[in-house]
């Protein structure tokens, strides 16, 4: 049965109150994590990888016997805490139903377009994993992103995975709730962007709007110095895919959606991300071709939610995405991705074609990483109006400093220029910066 979109008023809580809540939360969390902060091995060192895996613990929990080797634990817990000082663009952010295209903007209660500097809790991610019988691995991740939904947790992923074979030849089967497999940037802890604080417009959208509950199969093989990979999946949930980007426009950030996720639209309405309405599964596929020595790789992906436009509120969205990554020099990485697609819905005039691409160059020296990225994105209104039409481009500079194994400092500045036809000519500056502290448990 079709459901009406939920209507919720835009939030009006002052940022001073939010900052106090963030500070209290951080103090509580630091007290809870203080044994880990003061010493001992990080929990991520004890855990199987994000893909699910069983391997020896790398921790210091030896007994008196110096030759003792701890056997792998069957259950593991990891976490990522990300706190920031942000100074966003002149307009309230889209996260406050404003016109700002970055995650943090100006005061929503302000008189005009005035920049604001504030302390925020950007993300708290908790990952839980377990090794089940027959070497089946289970994994789940919950994120709290207070600027979007107070402290309500979103289930980003929850799946079981079984693999057969080895690194050079094998196959895998995965079932459950998953995000998208296309992003080249979201390969950091808890699926965070690795090269910058905010991902490209292309990948920001993929992680904002795709959450699928279903089945995924995978195959890989190395032969003749090349590595081949195929991935195909189908599942339910993304019937609203396309609504956020068409109605709001492209953004740049690091929001991860999932079950329970509701994203604000400019009108104050919130859209559910995981929302199955037409009982038609979406399908997707990804082909990978790379050099076995990882000097270069190509990826071709396709996604179609097969949305039934005859069902009220269902968006029919499909896109193709091509990506290339280059590691021609051990300290440099070059990523390029291009996306082309369309999103259609029956009841409104928001049918749009989507196009975005970016190029990112990253340099890693010791414990420091510096990245520069150029973004270009476009929406074309294809049903006769110019409601959704927009063009934009951006340049992002990011620097990360890895301090030991647990702590990371990051800085980012985004220069962003967006021209949306339907909005007033007065265009507040979208430029803004963030200073991030990330703790990994």
């Amino acid at each position: 049965m079709a459901r009406e979109p939920q209507h919720r008023p835009a939030r009006t809580v002052g940022y001073g109150f939010r900052a106090a809540r963030v500070a209290c939360f951080l103090v509580t969390l630091v007290a809870w994590l203080s044994p880990a902060l003061l010493g001992g091995a990080p929990a991520f060192a004890q855990a199987p990888p994000s893909t699910g895996g069983s391997f020896d613990n790398v921790d210091d929990q030896q007994g008196e016997d110096p030759y003792e080797v701890n056997q792998p634990r069957r259950v593991w817990l990891r976490g990522v805490l990300d706190a920031r000082v942000v100074r966003g663009g002149e307009a309230p952010s889209w996260t406050d139903s404003g016109r700002g295209r970055t995650r943090y903007g100006s005061d929503v209660d302000g008189e005009g377009f005035e920049r604001e500097t504030k302390l925020v809790l950007a993300q708290l991610a908790i990952e839980l994993g377990a090794t089940l019988p027959w070497e089946v691995r289970a994994q789940a991740q919950v994120n709290v992103q207070p600027d979007l939904d107070d402290y309500r947790p979103w289930l980003v992923e929850a799946f079981v995975r079984k693999e057969w074979g080895v690194a050079t030849s094998g196959r895998g089967l995965q079932a459950g709730l998953m995000g998208n497999p296309f992003s080249l940037e979201h390969v950091g802890p808890a699926w965070s962007p690795q090269y910058s604080i905010s991902a490209s417009a292309l990948n920001s959208w993929l992680w904002e709007e795709i959450s699928v509950a279903g089945l995924e199969g995978e195959w890989w093989r190395e032969a003749g110095g090349l590595r081949f990979g195929m991935l195909a999946g189908a599942g339910f949930g993304p019937d609203q895919l396309g609504r956020l980007v068409a109605v709001r426009g492209w953004t740049m950030g690091d929001v991860l959606s999932g079950v329970g996720a509701e994203m604000p639209l400019p009108s104050g309405v919130r859209t559910q991300i995981f929302d199955e309405r037409d009982d038609r599964p979406a399908a997707y596929a990804l082909l990978t071709l790379g050099d076995a020595r990882e000097r270069a790789a190509l990826r071709f992906g396709y996604f179609d939610n097969f949305g039934d436009e005859n069902v009220a509120g269902v968006w029919n969205t499909r896109f193709g995405v091509v990506g290339a990554s280059f590691h021609l020099h051990p300290r440099f990485e070059l990523l390029v991705q291009y996306l082309d697609g369309e999103a259609r819905v029956r009841d409104t005039t928001n049918d749009s074609s989507l196009r975005a691409w970016y190029a990112l160059l990253s340099h890693h020296q010791g414990r420091h990483r510096v990245s520069v990225r150029y973004d270009s994105f476009r929406l074309q209104d294809v049903d006769g109006g110019s409601v959704t039409a927009e063009d934009g481009e951006g340049v992002t500079f990011a620097w990360f400093w890895q301090i030991g194994l647990r702590h990371q400092l990051g800085f980012e500045y985004v220069w962003l220029d967006v021209d949306r036809r339907s909005q007033p000519t007065l265009a507040p500056s979208q430029d803004g910066g963030q200073l991030s502290y990330r703790f990994r448990y």
Partner: protein, 249 residues
Amino acid sequence: MVRSLQARLAATLRRVRLMLPLGMLAMAVLPVAGALAAETGVSGRVVGPDGKPVAAAIVFVQAAPSDADAERVRGDRSARIDGQSGRVAMDQVDKAFVPAVLPVVVGTEVRFPNHDQIHHHVYSFSRTKTFELPLYKGQDAQPVLFDKAGVVKIGCNIHDWMSAVILVLPNEHFAVTDSDGRFTLENLPAGKHTLAAWHERSRTKVDETLQAVSVGSAATAATGAGIHFTLSLAPARTRPAIRGSRNDT
């Protein structure tokens, strides 16, 4: 009758006179032969509780090195620092540590060359040795000195599935069992030694495996030749394939 007794006694004395120098010669030679035989091997086998052979187990002499051993170790360490040959290394190849288990003598410096095109961040939080090294291909990072005996578990901060073990042993006298579980400890100096057995997946503590053996005496040569260890192993866990497109970076 008395004459026959005298004859027998004389014959006996003649034999004694002949044998005495031989005996004295033997008494002089045997210790030397024993000393020569003392630089000898102790062999044996490591099996599981079900009698099946345990491969890749490490049998070692659990004793502080003698002055000669310590000097030899220091000399070898100098060779590792100053020369390319004889260096001990744990490599990173195709997002895996090679070898997965590396036995070294206390005082050894281990290099961690990265032969992958991508960056690794090698670390250990083991009490035996704590360190972390960001590593790049083509860059010679500072070797890490392992100066305490024990287990050092190695991981990569970026690629969670990568893990290895460096077993730091108190002296040079160790051997790795073959596929049949057999080992031979060679060139052990004469004297009493305490042997121990270790395996990466062993549930049996090293202290529970200790066996005393004397090397270099004929009386104990037989016992030295057939030492048996029984180790109870935890089930082997398959390492994740980690070549899925979703997670391949």
